[in-house]
């Protein structure tokens, strides 16, 4: 039996499939995840569309612009807009990434890694508390794919997540593809990473495709889930149990039926 937070199996809502969701309301999709940043400044027509879809689907809000790791002040306008939309949609939860996207007022629009040190923990913990206070709900943080690591880390990425959860109550969106990609790129043990994440913190799994460049993997979200990622997903479920799971596909977006087939693969496991 699914727990109340196990929404089932979902898809990211992307522009090419707006019409299909609005007109067909496919029941093969249990819930929708939206990229928060695409909608919080958007005009009322988009909000009307999301409210309409919300009548048939639980909605999870997933952001890329929070920049929880930066040393710049948190953006109050961004947070209040995020809260406004989350309240309007009765979002199942609100997530973003453990990263920084910019500093000193500038923005790379990328998910840049932070050093996993005690100093970083001390910086992030009050910021996560602040975000959770503004949102009035738990913040869920995702592991990003990374290509470089800071030296001198005192904790592994998974241990860092565990500390954040223990000290703030934040949830974890465990992106299985990102664990695989980062583990390949840095020579980590992907299963040890999965083992080190606290089960109670995991709110959701992400699955996605990546591109193999030979000497590194690149997180592209433009392909079916790769076999090693499926195997790692099975392993994560054996360790931590089932959770709400999402197929992410953000580039070269295929026909809805292709995404539906990926969801069928998740259900069949």
């Amino acid at each position: 039996m699914m727990s109340s937070s196990h929404l089932g199996y979902g898809l990211g809502l992307r522009r090419p499939h707006y019409g299909h969701f609005l007109n067909e309301r496919p029941r093969s999709v249990d819930w929708l995840e939206i990229i928060s940043d695409n909608y919080i400044r958007a005009h009322a027509g988009y909000h009307d569309m999301l409210c309409d879809l919300r009548t048939d689907y639980p909605i999870v809000m997933h952001g890329v612009g929070l920049s929880i790791g930066t040393t710049d002040a948190l953006d109050g306008d961004y947070l209040s807009a995020l809260k406004g939309l989350a309240d309007k949609l009765e979002a199942a939860w609100v997530s973003d990434h453990l990263c920084f996207t910019g500093i000193n007022g500038q923005n790379s629009h990328d998910l840049l890694p932070i050093p996993y040190t005690e100093e970083a923990l001390k910086h992030l913990i009050p910021r996560i508390h602040q975000v959770q206070a503004v949102l009035g709900r738990e913040l869920v943080l995702e592991n990003a794919s990374t290509y470089v690591e800071f030296d001198g880390a005192s904790l592994s990425e998974a241990e860092f997540f565990a500390e954040l959860h223990a000290r703030t109550g934040c949830g974890i969106l465990l992106d299985i593809n990102n664990v695989h990609v980062s583990s390949f790129n840095h020579g980590w043990d992907a299963r040890a990473y999965i083992d080190a994440v606290p089960s109670a913190a995991i709110k959701q799994y992400h699955l996605a495709g990546h591109t193999d460049h030979g000497d590194y993997l690149f997180d592209t979200h433009n392909a079916p889930v790769a076999d090693p990622v499926w195997a790692l997903y099975d392993y994560a479920r054996s360790v931590h149990g089932d959770r709400a799971t999402l197929i992410e596909w953000d580039a070269d977006i295929p026909a809805f039926e292709v995404l539906e087939a990926e969801l069928d693969k998740v259900r069949a496991r």
């Binding site: 005009h43 790791g69 970083a120 590194y216």
Partner: protein, 241 residues
């Protein structure tokens, strides 16, 4: 090195503003990818992301200028313009400042205005119903504010006709202007309304805070007003309050 400086070092390397101190980063276990190549994955992505965002908003300008000249302007813009907002949609709006005066700049200004209007804040439109019960004298003294999501534009060339032809897939030729336009978002869509020169003058005066009596400066304008008013209200030119 403290946490903030660590982030700054990575950010400066990613955005090409300074070389990173390689001692900051860990050499990978069991992987031959060098640190410079690792940083380049981020640096390449940074440039590609910003260039793609700009290119997506100026398809007609790219066609008008040709790929080589357009990409050169975009490269200069990206190199000179760090993004200062979490919303990448706003990043391309400053491109017209880098385009030389002339038809290309007019077209860039038009495409930038469309983007700005699309992302501008919502406001309710003034409708004929809102004017029910207001007598003629009071109406003549009313300030009429153009919609928050709108831009009033005048061009020497004819970029609007070019854009229309480009979007329809027809052979687009830049004609001689002038063109007068109101770009407005109404009913959740961005509309480009061609204006008569006199109509443009009246809307300009209204946008500068004059009331209707002050803005209707000529007999010709007064003569056209009933026709214009009908369209202005139907097409949502003004804010409700």
């Amino acid at each position: 090195m403290n946490y903030r400086r660590q982030l700054e070092q990575l950010y400066e390397a990613v955005t090409g503003r300074a070389a990173a101190d390689m001692h900051l980063f860990k050499a990978a276990r069991g992987n031959v990818l060098t640190l410079p190549r690792r940083l380049n994955i981020y640096a390449d992505g940074y440039g590609e992301r910003l260039r793609a965002a700009v290119a997506a908003d100026y398809p007609a300008l790219a066609a008008f200028m040709g790929a080589g000249a357009f990409n050169a302007v975009v490269d200069v813009y990206v190199a000179a313009t760090p993004s200062r907002h979490w919303d990448l949609n706003l990043y391309p709006i400053g491109l017209p400042d880098l385009v030389s005066p002339g038809p290309a700049k007019d077209l860039a200004t038009l495409e930038a205005a469309i983007v700005a209007v699309f992302w501008a804040a919502d406001s309710a439109p003034l409708t004929p119903t809102d004017l029910t019960g207001i007598d003629e004298a009071a109406f003549a003294q009313m300030p009429l504010d153009l919609r928050t999501a709108s831009r009033l534009l005048r061009f020497e060339a004819a970029p609007n006709a070019y854009l229309t032809a480009h979007r329809s897939g027809a052979a687009a030729m830049m004609g001689v202007g002038p063109e007068h336009l109101l770009i407005v978002r109404h009913d959740h869509e961005v509309h480009r309304h061609a204006l008569e020169p006199l109509e443009y003058d009246v809307l300009t005066r209204l946008s500068q805070g004059q009331n209707l009596t002050e803005a209707i400066a000529t007999e010709a304008a007064a003569e056209h007003l009933p026709h214009w008013l009908g369209r202005w209200l139907t097409d949502g030119f003004f804010n409700q309050s």
